[in-house]
């Protein structure tokens, strides 16, 4: 059993609210088509994340870092355990939430920046970035302004805004993804290697965005292979290799 030591500590040392806590999480993949192979990713994972702080997941590939983020987002189905969101007016277990609740969580509470951009062909980059705000009912003009500001900050040239990002370079696609993840403010943000294919300058912009989100009180769980970024943003580090069963 591995409880992150910080969990008990933080209750004493800070009065920040815990926003997300994971209890005894297990994830097993059963590959029915491959001789029913069973892949045990993790079996007893616990952690908690406070508002305004960033927890970084460490560990070699295959330890389940991305699997954990995907589970927190409701994308992967966990095998057992709890994923509790601590709202001001009560708690909610993501692992047991209905699809309708998950839509709401993804609209308003949990943001996720994945490693890869997956979009409808033909839709311009600007519209893709605006979408999370439009989904919350923000006026189009206002959403457009915010999207433009963010794309400018992330150094996406204006001539690309009206084009579909399917033909963009890896680094450009990643910045579209980042813009989409940061345009609407979420109390909980999951970041899966957001800086993997960025140059030093843009990496700096992403660090700023993360710092700003923390200042707003966002609880962040992230994977950063890049040590520079990790050292800048991490308040807490969890090594999944040590947490493994």
């Amino acid at each position: 059993m591995n409880i992150n030591v910080q969990e008990s500590d933080c209750l004493i040392k800070s009065n920040k609210k815990i926003r997300l806590s994971v209890h005894k999480l297990a994830k097993v993949f059963t590959m029915h088509l491959q001789n029913s192979a069973i892949i045990d990713i993790f079996s007893n994972l616990s952690l908690s994340v406070e508002e305004g702080s960033c927890t970084v997941l460490l560990g070699p590939s295959g330890m389940g870092k991305s699997t954990l983020l995907k589970s927190l987002y409701g994308n992967y189905m966990i095998t057992s355990g709890e994923i509790m969101l601590h709202c001001d007016d009560g708690n909610l277990d993501v692992a047991k939430a209905s699809p309708q609740i998950i839509y709401e969580l993804r609209r308003n509470i949990i943001g996720y920046v994945s490693q890869f951009l997956r979009v409808v062909p033909r839709v311009p980059a600007l519209n893709i970035v605006m979408e999370p705000l439009l989904n919350r009912g923000v006026e189009k003009v206002q959403a457009q302004e915010k999207a433009k500001t963010l794309l400018t900050r992330l150094n996406i040239p204006e001539r690309l805004w009206s084009l579909s990002p399917t033909t963009f370079s890896g680094g450009e696609q990643q910045r579209i993804n980042i813009a989409r993840g940061f345009i609407a403010h979420y109390p909980i943000l999951l970041l899966d290697e957001p800086t993997a294919s960025l140059d030093a300058y843009n990496r700096g912009v992403v660090i700023e965005l993360i710092e700003e989100a923390k200042a707003r009180g966002t609880a962040i769980v992230g994977i950063f292979h890049d040590e520079i970024v990790r050292n800048k943003v991490a308040d807490d580090v969890i090594n999944l290799a040590e947490c493994a069963a």
Binding site: R19, K70, Y76, L92, P99, V123
Partner: protein, 263 residues
Amino acid sequence: MKLPVLNEQPILKVKDVNKLYGINRGCQAIGFDLYPGEVLGIVGESGSGKSTLLKCLSGECQPDSGDIIFNALSGEVLNLYEIGEAKRRLLMRSEFGIVKQNPRDGLRLSVSAGANIGERLMAVGERHYGGIRSTASSWLQQVEIDAERIDDFPQSFSGGMQQRLQIARVLVTKPRLVMMDEPTGGLDVSVQARLLDMIRTLVANLNLSVVIVTHDLAVARLLCHRLMVMQKSRVIESGLTDQILDDPQHPYTQLLVSSVLTP
């Protein structure tokens, strides 16, 4: 950070619906709720019962047993196969919209594009010619067909244009529940992408509830919030679209997902 509140009622409730043509042919033990604004995809191989289920839902095929309950705009709660033929027909051309896989099945080929759209409006009581024509023209533009072609016959349209015309014909009466059977089937990929983008935008802008049958998992991923996977007449797995496609649990779903070719 507040807990999500759901105060919307389902627009459609499906309870233990069965329609069998033979052993495991058709659909059986189907149950689900559909919420306003939600897009539900039904996926599975040919012969798994997807289209039979869709026909039951759309009022075209009475199930052997089970209930399909629709929350009408008027506030009435209607049991689709207990309200009588006349009322069901009215529902099918007003609050329901049915998009056929083959646009030629959903369009009238012997009348102009404008008349195809206008006809549905007249069926729900619209009488003013000028109003009908201008509505038809604005719908042509919404589905990206040049309004100048309002008097052309659908035969002169390409497959993709015919499909977009069919969608305009269906949506013009502002249905609340739209059912689509393979709407992008048989279209080449460049046309598909355009249609997908259009359907997505219309669904979001009009807050439509949609049930869409498709065997194309890429289409399902881009359009659907939630999926039901069917095999041999039964739903074997259901859930959030990305969860079903990224972490399928059932052996058959794993087979479906792993069989997709990515270019």
